[in-house]
């Protein structure tokens, strides 16, 4: 065990420490946003945002290398793609005239396809697998700063507006009747969800990011009867999943994203089974 820890602090493993730090620092955001995504039942919307982010990444890399727009970084592209998807799906779901699930599926597939087409036409090496399944080697100090900024952006409004957020997540119509600006809160939630997804892209990748967002919250939901306690427990669980998954992947030479998600998924299924069994007694 002590050898493990010593190894962890060796200079060659800076990338692992960086990934651990991002994962742990993202816990407050994961707890809060994950719980809202699970209770509002918008995880498929989050999935669409994640895949649309790849569209943004592809376009940004293309512009950077072909059109020589140096400021067009993949991260910027990912944020733009995910936010655009969130706005499109959010507006559609609020007006409720189009078939929401169809629009989500279209945004999902279209975003991913656009990304892959642009990546194909982008010269030079592109680690597209890293975007799909995560590549913690891509993490850097700027990811740590981004994580802290996002934590602040998520926690501050949450603390200031908790009763309104709780009421509108539970019953949007009733909250609207009490004068709460539910549409504004909903759109802010979608924006924060999109940013959270982009942040986690390098840790677990586009395909697995919904799992990391929803599994800690869904697990916490099996044991809690308040939204705030669900958020807290989800944050703690995401710390455990990220740490366990990263260390496990390092010592057993496995890809980190799938390792984190498998750990989270197995714990969730066990929790679900336990809560059903306890409920039956």
């Amino acid at each position: 065990m002590s050898e493990m820890i010593r190894e962890l602090f060796s200079p060659e493993l800076a990338f692992l420490r960086c990934a651990l730090l991002v994962g742990l620092l993202a816990a407050p955001t994961l707890g809060v946003v994950g719980s809202l995504v699970v209770t509002r039942r918008i995880s498929s919307l989050a999935g669409a945002c994640a895949h649309a982010a790849l569209g943004g990444v592809g376009l940004a890399l293309f512009l950077q290398r072909v059109v020589r727009l140096a400021w067009c970084t993949p991260t910027l592209g990912a944020v733009a793609g995910a936010l655009l998807a969130a706005v499109v799906v959010g507006v559609v779901s609020l007006s409720a005239k189009e078939r929401e699930d169809t629009v989500i599926a279209v945004v999902w597939a279209l975003g991913m396809s656009i990304g892959l087409l642009f990546l194909e036409r982008t010269p030079g090496y592109v680690d597209w697998q890293g975007y799909l399944f995560g590549n913690i080697l891509l993490l850097s100090g700027s990811d740590i700063v981004m994580t802290l900024v996002l934590d602040a952006a998520v926690l501050l409004p949450m603390i200031l507006f908790y009763p309104a957020v709780l009421a509108m997540s539970f019953d949007a119509t009733f909250s609207e009747l009490r004068g709460v600006r539910t549409t504004a809160i909903y759109l802010v939630l979608l924006g924060l969800t999109a940013c959270t997804i982009v942040l986690l892209l390098n840790v677990v990748g586009i395909i697995l990011v919904i799992a990391l967002l929803t599994l800690p919250a869904a697990t916490a939901g099996c044991f809690t009867r308040h939204l705030w306690s669900m958020m807290t427990l989800a944050g703690i669980l995401s710390c455990l999943f990220v740490t366990g998954g990263l260390l496990g992947s390092f010592y057993y030479r496995l890809p980190s994203g799938p390792a984190i998600v498998v750990l989270a998924g197995v714990v969730y299924l066990a929790a679900l089974g336990y809560s059903k069994w306890r409920g039956k007694r």
């Binding site: 209770t39 039942r41 200031l160 507006f161 908790y162 009763p163 309104a164 709780l166 009421a167 997540s169 539970f170 019953d171 119509t173 009733f174 909250s175 609207e176 009747l177 009490r178 004068g179 709460v180 600006r181 939901g221 809690t224 009867r225 308040h226 939204l227 306690s229 669900m230």
Partner: protein, 253 residues
């Protein structure tokens, strides 16, 4: 005195050419309570949404306490049907009830007074012992009473109840009517009932909605009036002072 609800020549359609509510005119005076009845798809929910200001009429006028619905909202306590809500949402009965005290703006935290108001509302519905329980663990009838408590915590002048008796178990029914009778002393209670089904005995007026809207005094509500709403034969059963209607030709015979 200003009527609690005043509706004049109200038209509404989701799609042009397919009116859902047509030329509705009725009013409910202070001290009166009412029951909205009509077949499924007849426009009851739409009328309710119009009264709440969630939909905008194509033509006509709605006034609650003399003001447009959007302005009078805070005087209205609204209870939706509980199955419209996520049954596994992590929230306790008291946390739901206190939402009736929700205020817009910065720092919308509840005061001790708000919590007392919510507890009083739970007590009035006979469920103060459920305050700390998870909403997800409650039975259908209990959830419905928590939602009525939330509407009461708004301290409303008008209480709108959407299908309040749909999930109440027979044993609790008597107690529920007693509660409604008590509430009627203080405020206008407007209930919505599906498949005509039950017409609340604690009502003054009956508002029949089937695209057209007609209003009847409860004591004059006859089998003929019910037939006119439902376009087919109804059985009207008087059962002490309550008035139950069942669709003719069905299994209720």
């Amino acid at each position: 005195m200003t009527p609690v609800i005043e509706v004049e020549h109200l038209d509404f359609s989701y799609e042009p050419g397919f009116p859902v509510v047509e030329d509705a005119t009725f009013s409910i005076e202070p001290g009166q309570s009412g029951c909205i009845v009509g077949p499924n798809g007849g426009g009851k929910s739409t009328l309710l949404k119009l009264l709440l200001g969630l939909l905008t009429p194509d033509a006509g006028k709605i006034r609650l306490f003399g003001a447009p619905p959007a302005e009078a909202r805070r005087q209205v306590g609204y209870m939706p049907q509980y199955h419209q809500l996520d049954p596994s949402f992590p929230v306790t009965a008291l946390e739901v009830a206190v939402m009736g005290r929700l205020k817009p703006g910065l720092f919308p935290f509840y005061s001790r007074r708000d919590k007392e108001t919510a507890m009083d509302a739970l007590a009035e519905l006979g469920i103060s012992d459920l305050a700390g329980r998870s909403f997800a663990d409650l039975s259908g009838g209990q959830r419905q009473r928590v939602l009525i408590a939330r509407a009461l915590a708004c301290r409303p002048g008008l209480l709108l109840l959407d299908e309040p008796t749909a999930n109440i178990d027979p044993g609790a029914e008597e107690q529920f009517y007693a509660t409604l009778a008590q509430l009627r002393q203080r405020m206008t209670v407007l209930t919505v009932s599906h498949d005509l089904g039950f017409v609340n005995r604690e009502t003054d007026v009956i508002i029949c909605v089937n695209r057209k809207v007609s209003i009847h005094r409860a004591e004059n509500f006859t089998a003929e009036a019910a037939d006119a709403v439902y376009h087919h034969k109804m059985n009207l059963i008087h059962h002490d002072h309550a008035c139950f209607c069942h669709c003719g030709g069905g299994h209720d015979e």
